[in-house]
């Protein structure tokens, strides 16, 4: 407990005074942070870690709804086939 606070020296100065010159920005008017695209890709020295996170997260969050749409479609098709089969079943039975 005590150690946690000694480990985080910045905690001693909390709560942050609101008059701090932390940029209170409007993100629409803020300029872009990067000077070039290659700089953006490099992410300092952490490119693989950042893009490895982004890549997997985006991939899975695209994959999940795609699989769901496919599952729903195949279920609907299956049920329709089944209902149609039942209907023809019934009509042939009634004809006899």
């Amino acid at each position: 407990m005590q150690l946690a606070s000694t480990l985080n020296p910045a905690q001693d100065i909390q709560p942050l005074p609101l008059s701090l010159p932390i940029p209170h920005s409007s993100f629409l008017t803020d300029p872009m942070y990067w000077n070039s695209f290659s700089e953006f890709l490099a992410m300092g020295t952490h490119g693989i870690y950042v893009w490895g996170s982004v890549g997997v997260m985006v991939l899975l969050m695209v994959l999940e709804p795609v699989l769901l749409v496919r599952g729903q479609k195949s279920l609907v098709a299956r049920l329709k086939r089944q209902f149609r089969a039942e209907k023809t079943d019934r009509s042939t039975q009634s004809r006899r």
């Binding site: 940029p23 952490h46 870690y49 997260m57 899975l60 769901l68 609907v76 049920l79 209907k87």
Partner: protein, 252 residues
């Protein structure tokens, strides 16, 4: 008052909820896209670098929303499961079942992005500290819930068994959340909480909150999609499913 109650129950029945959910899904997708693009724009293109961690800190825009969702979806899932156990609503068991895979997905993403963040910053992919271990237990809880439900054929019994597991597992959520306060952990404390002002620069905080909102909308959209499939599957013997598929059986 009583009128409202009746309306609410009307939507709680699968045949009323199915088309309603179908109409809501595109809106949640639109909101998810808007918040997601805005959040990634602010987080990855506008936000300044971090004094301690350099550019690698940008993983926070994915890691924190994923972690929040992993815990929050579990609470919602347990709530629905408990409601089903107590009142036997048909819808609640389906909702719990529909939420579990998305919760497991976010838990996995939380661990994945956390590992990729931990390696450059802490110097390790993984440590067995209280925060990381309890989040891993959360993943096991989700997987256990899904496995248990799929092992039982009768949906009602599957719902009951799953609900008990989900409710017992709720104990893990406060353990995850407060682990960084209760014990010595390698993981740092919360940057954003209800009890203190956030210890983040405004632009960074904005980006993170937008990404979190996007994940919320995504989770709702996906859960609604899945619950619709579950409804059709479970209620395939009922008349409303036939009507919904435009195959009304003509009674003579």
């Amino acid at each position: 008052m009583s009128n409202k109650l009746i309306n609410w129950f009307r939507f709680a029945s699968p045949q009323a909820f199915y088309p309603l959910a179908g109409r809501m899904i595109p809106w949640f997708w639109a909101l998810a896209a808007v918040f997601g693009i805005a959040g990634l724009y602010v987080g990855f293109l506008v936000a300044p670098t971090d004094a301690q961690q350099g550019e690698g800190y940008r993983i926070i825009f994915l890691h924190v929303p994923a972690s929040w969702m992993s815990m929050f979806i579990y609470l919602v899932m347990a709530f629905w499961a408990g409601l089903g156990l107590a009142f036997n609503f048909r819808l609640s068991g389906m909702m719990a079942t529909a939420l579990a895979p998305t919760g497991a997905l976010f838990t996995f993403l939380s661990l994945w992005t956390g590992a990729l963040w931990g390696k450059p910053m802490w110097g390790t992919w993984w440590v067995w500290d209280a925060r990381l271990t309890s989040e891993l237990i959360l993943l096991f809880l989700y997987v256990g819930f899904i496995a248990l439900q799929s092992a039982i054929d009768d949906p009602r019994r599957a719902d009951k068994a799953g609900a008990i597991l989900a409710l017992v597992g709720v104990v893990n959520i406060p353990i995850i959340y407060f682990s960084v306060k209760w014990w010595n952990t390698l993981h740092q404390g919360s940057s954003v909480s209800l009890t203190k002002s956030p210890s983040m620069a405004m632009t960074m905080l904005l980006g993170m909150l937008l990404c979190a909102l996007a994940c919320w909308m995504y989770a709702i959209a996906v859960a609604l999609m899945r619950v619709r499939t579950i409804m059709l599957e479970r209620e395939r013997h009922t008349e409303w499913v036939r009507e919904e598929l435009g195959m009304k059986a003509k009674e003579q």
